[in-house]
Symmetry: C3
Subunit: 154 residues, 3 copies
């Protein structure tokens, strides 16, 4: 790939951090959905959770998660560009970035969970802001058996 411009790189790093704050705020899914395109894909199948298409499906997933959880903590680092096409998406550019995440959650039933995963977000510009059009999570360490129990059986 050609090298991702510094300003794009910075924008994507901050986009991923915003996502973590939105997931951890547990205050409603609107701030979180605003980070995605209308037709975004969120593919969590590699960690035993659903693959979803579109803001409606993604919103329904997170609404159910938020209803179950009392605490969220998504700690992100190891940012690394994973693709840059300056001419993609009709000339606006397509940028992909990976990062490592330690994700923790505590549920209303008293259970808690910790995972070590990698995020990959592929983003495009819409109205002057970067939005994620494809989001995938892959495991870095063995996944706890209870993840699907906590988040997935919907």
């Amino acid at each position: 790939m050609s090298e991702m411009p510094e300003d794009v790189r910075t924008a994507l790093e901050r986009h991923l951090i915003e996502y973590c704050y939105a997931v951890d705020g547990l205050q409603g899914v609107e701030p979180l959905l605003a980070l995605f395109t209308d037709d975004a894909v969120a593919d969590f199948s590699a960690i035993g959770l659903p693959a979803m298409k579109g803001r409606d499906e993604i919103g329904a997933f997170y609404r159910a998660v938020f209803a179950d959880m009392t605490h969220h903590f998504h700690f992100i680092s190891n940012f690394r560009p994973d693709g840059w096409d300056a001419n993609g998406d009709g000339g606006g550019g397509v940028a992909a970035m990976t990062a490592y995440v330690i994700g923790m959650g505590a549920a209303k039933d008293g259970s808690s969970i910790t995972v070590q995963v990698k995020y990959r977000m592929e983003c495009v510009q819409q109205g002057g802001a970067w939005k994620c059009r494809h989001y995938a999570i892959t495991p870095m360490m063995p996944m706890p058996g209870s993840l699907a129990e906590v988040h997935g059986s919907r």
Copy 2:
């Protein structure tokens, strides 16, 4: 808020990292206190620890902590501006930043502890360097019951 200038943002990120190194060095509180204003507030009440005002109180707290601990590890990420007033503090500017922290400690009595928290530091410029005038810690995950036992009963 108006957008925090990039150089201020970078300075605050590094200030928070310096704080972690100072807390983890366990070598005396002077390098740590040098990061705060004389009248700084350190409010740890949200995690069951004291709220302190002024370098003397903050120094006494950390001296007691350092005397008890053999190891410290404060891992910081998820930096995010949380306020910027270019005209504040008599024109020097007031900048606030939040970050996530995984904090770990091992004590001389053999006990150890891990917390997942959010830091917020509000900083001003003094003598050409940023200093923290208000520092607050809030919990991100349920706090272990032993935190006050380890750090708080002073």
Copy 3:
């Protein structure tokens, strides 16, 4: 020390992140060895592992580790310059950076391990790219007794 230039600082941060991705890929040691000089020293003695000199010894160590492990996760943050000599290494400059790392591994025998450590990499420029010539790991929290068992008895 004189202050490390921003571009050098950024290059070293990314070098350390590349190292984490190379260690965690578990796909062969060549991408990892490409980050070091031919005569690089990797001193892991402070955490009970070998001190090695040269790509051959470093490569042999990691080949053995990779053969044993099914998962790796090296989460890095708290980057901080730790030395800059613009005139060093014949005028190319010598730059050192520290960072904190949460390192995790899962082995084929079903065991797993987590450590909290500090990395220090001292780097020089070769052929337009930064290469690590001295890499040291020091413990931040008490080390698990099983580390030498997992990685060190070679």
